[in-house]
């Protein structure tokens, strides 16, 4: 891959020629056609997914608990064989060429996966050896990654003594030892504090700038918004929307007017009815929220105050309001009809 070698997180040199040939035949890092995965108990976890992720993209995969994100990523990482459809990773067929796929990807599982009896440095060293990082590069690689995930000063402590966040960071480091051209990250920052999360974000962004393709699942819409070039939203095993974050936000249609009300649910219901009947908003979408209502409309900015007046005339007390551009949360609400809330503690499975 001559044009890329400054960016070169590529791991293609072992089988350099045929890998490069396969890669140039399809410049897509991930190429999926009609992927289906049905578990042995009959659960249809993935139900006909098509997607193409070009090399170098930062791709986000969003969905609520149980949508099928982990199942999809496990198929890509060759841990599960598709029960239908075709998957090509870095140009290799995930089913028939799984070893080549494994050589050319990094994978960070949703559940933190480290050896608690080994030290931080030993965990990374083991990963280096497992991925065949050349001996003379290992020491530097271990130091570099320890530094990256901020564990240099506990390098020789056993991982079992680490906090959950430290383990997660160590896990992230071990997925990157061989500088794979494509990295799968399954909710990599869940459970991290903001500082650690920012630091990992920064690193993901940097390796992406250097050419690494990243496929990331997340429950944090902010994370997808911050990092991803393109997103797909998965719901019940099917992709229900995709595009860049701004495209998706545009699809929401207009801006969002949040109104906070006094009087609980009854007031909310009445206010929602009024907003739906409100001609100036055209075909606005109105949702009841915890604090009141949320109206999404093209004309939310121009006619927002008119709605407030109408609410006052109906003797509903408005305690606050805000007009804003839509966020991915709104996208999610619009598409799935449910709020994606990473903190609700609900874990599928």
């Amino acid at each position: 891959m001559p044009t890329r070698d400054t960016a070169g997180p590529g791991d293609r040199s072992r089988d350099g020629n045929d890998a490069a040939a396969a890669a140039s035949a399809s410049a897509a890092a991930i190429d999926v056609d009609g992927l289906e995965l049905t578990y042995a108990d009959g659960t249809v976890a993935v139900d006909g997914i098509d997607m193409t992720v070009p090399e170098g993209e930062f791709f986000g995969f969003l969905g609520p608990n149980g949508a099928g994100k982990t199942t999809t990523i496990k198929v890509f990482a060759t841990l599960l064989s598709p029960t239908g459809g075709a998957v090509r990773i870095n140009g290799f067929d995930a089913r028939s060429d799984s070893r080549k796929v494994r050589e050319s990807i990094g994978y960070m599982a949703q559940e933190t996966s480290i050896d608690p009896e080994l030290t931080a440095a030993e965990n990374i060293e083991f990963a280096c050896e497992a991925y065949g990082v050349p001996r003379d590069a290992r020491t530097d690689r271990v130091d570099e990654l320890l530094d990256l995930v901020d564990l240099a000063d506990v390098a020789d402590k056993r991982a079992e003594e680490f906090s959950g966040g430290m383990k997660k960071r160590l896990d992230a480091a071990t997925a990157l030892v061989h500088r794979p051209p494509l990295v799968f990250l399954d909710e990599p920052t869940t459970g991290l504090d903001p500082k650690a999360r920012n630091r990992l974000w920064e690193y993901f962004r940097r390796i992406n700038d250097l050419g690494t393709t990243i496929f990331l699942t997340t429950q944090y819409l902010e994370e997808a918004d911050q990092l991803c070039d393109r997103l797909a939203v998965i719901l019940d095993g099917e992709i229900v929307a995709d595009g860049s974050p701004s495209e998706l936000k545009r699809e929401v249609g207009g801006e969002v007017l949040d109104v906070e009300l006094e009087g609980g649910q009854a007031a909310g219901e009445r206010a929602a009815d009024i907003a739906r009947e409100f001609d100036a908003f055209g075909d606005a979408s109105v949702a009841e929220t915890e604090a009141g209502i949320s109206v999404t409309a093209e004309t939310a900015r121009e006619h927002g105050t008119d709605l407030l007046v109408a609410l006052r005339d109906a003797e509903i007390t408005v305690t606050g309001f805000n007009i804003r551009a839509p966020t991915l949360d709104d996208v999610f609400l619009a598409i799935t009809g449910e709020e994606l809330d990473a903190d609700d503690g609900e874990v599928a499975r």
């Binding site: 070169g8 997180p9 040199s13 933190t112 080994l118 500088r179 920064e202």
Partner: protein, 291 residues
């Protein structure tokens, strides 16, 4: 929060082309490291056999010595007992193999290893080799201790090496067994309990601690099909340098080897059978086919 001083990320990092042996070595090292990290387990799995060795020789030495002497004149109870303790060590250590596998599944390392390009066979060869290595070291310690307590390895160093080899052969079927239980239960306690439950009946209902003739009839019947009897008799033949195989009588070589060979043959057969079961279960557990 400045970016760490890292890269020249320039050079594409070649996989240094791990071979099968290389992959096995990587895993061998990890499991040895884990064993050393857990000296408690190492010590505990030795303590029980040592307690047996000391208690049995001190408490039963006089009584049992008589029974032993009837069949094997001139052999003291220490000498009689040490091969049995060697087999006990192999048994106890083999249990931890399945426990290690369950732990790996629980902490995600099992899956993590599956996504690396390492040969899966090499991964398990490396792990088993580490366990076998540990068993060899532990048996060597027991032999040394036995000699200190007054046991006599009649065949000398060569015999000691042979006893270690028999111990390893013996351990493999139990390693396979504990791994099979581990994959089926995927639970640490179940694995420990089921393997431990078997340990004492296997040991006591065999020729380990007393000559078969001194035992009740039903125990003799069980002992004849008990793998421990074959392991112990083979090891004991090497220890005392004569054919003391109680169950199968052959005269292929004349002398000590007639006591060793049938035991070894039975153990190899058992290893292959249980090994095949464990390998089948393991490859099903690591296969990517939806299960």
């Amino acid at each position: 929060m400045s970016a760490p001083e890292t890269d020249d990320r320039s050079g594409p990092s070649a996989r240094s082309g791990n071979t099968f042996v290389g992959d096995a070595w990587v895993n061998f090292k990890r499991w040895n490291l884990k064993a050393v990290r857990n000296p408690f387990v190492l010590v505990v799995s030795l303590v029980q056999p040592i307690i047996f060795l000391v208690l049995f020789t001190e408490v039963f030495g006089n009584v049992a010595g008589g029974a032993v002497n009837q069949g094997l004149p001139g052999i003291n109870y220490e000498t009689y007992l040490v091969p049995a303790i060697a087999i006990q060590v192999a048994l106890a250590a083999a249990i931890t193999s399945g426990v290690g596998l369950v732990n790996d599944i629980e902490n995600g390392m099992f899956e993590k290893v599956l996504v690396t390009p390492m040969s899966r066979t090499a991964v398990f060869v490396g792990k088993t080799a580490a366990e076998v290595f540990r068993i060899a070291v532990q048996i060597a310690i027991i032999l040394g201790l036995g000699v200190l307590l007054g046991a006599d390895i009649v065949t000398g160093v060569a015999g000691a090496v042979g006893i270690i080899a028999v111990g390893i052969l013996f351990s493999l079927w139990f390693v396979a067994f504990s791994n099979a239980v581990a994959i089926i239960t995927r639970d640490q306690e179940s694995t420990i309990i089921s393997a431990n439950l078997l340990q004492f009946p296997l040991l006591f209902l065999s020729s380990a601690f007393l000559p078969l003739e001194a035992l009740p009839g039903w125990i003799q019947t069980f002992a004849r099909v008990n793998p421990v009897t074959y392991g112990v008799d083979a090891a004991r033949s090497l220890m005392v340098d004569r054919d003391v195989m109680t169950v199968i009588d052959v005269a292929w070589f004349g002398g000590t080897l007639d006591g060793v060979a049938p035991g070894v043959a039975v153990l190899v057969g058992l290893d292959l059978a249980l090994g095949a079961v464990a390998v089948a279960l393991l490859s099903r557990a690591s296969s990517s086919d939806v299960k």
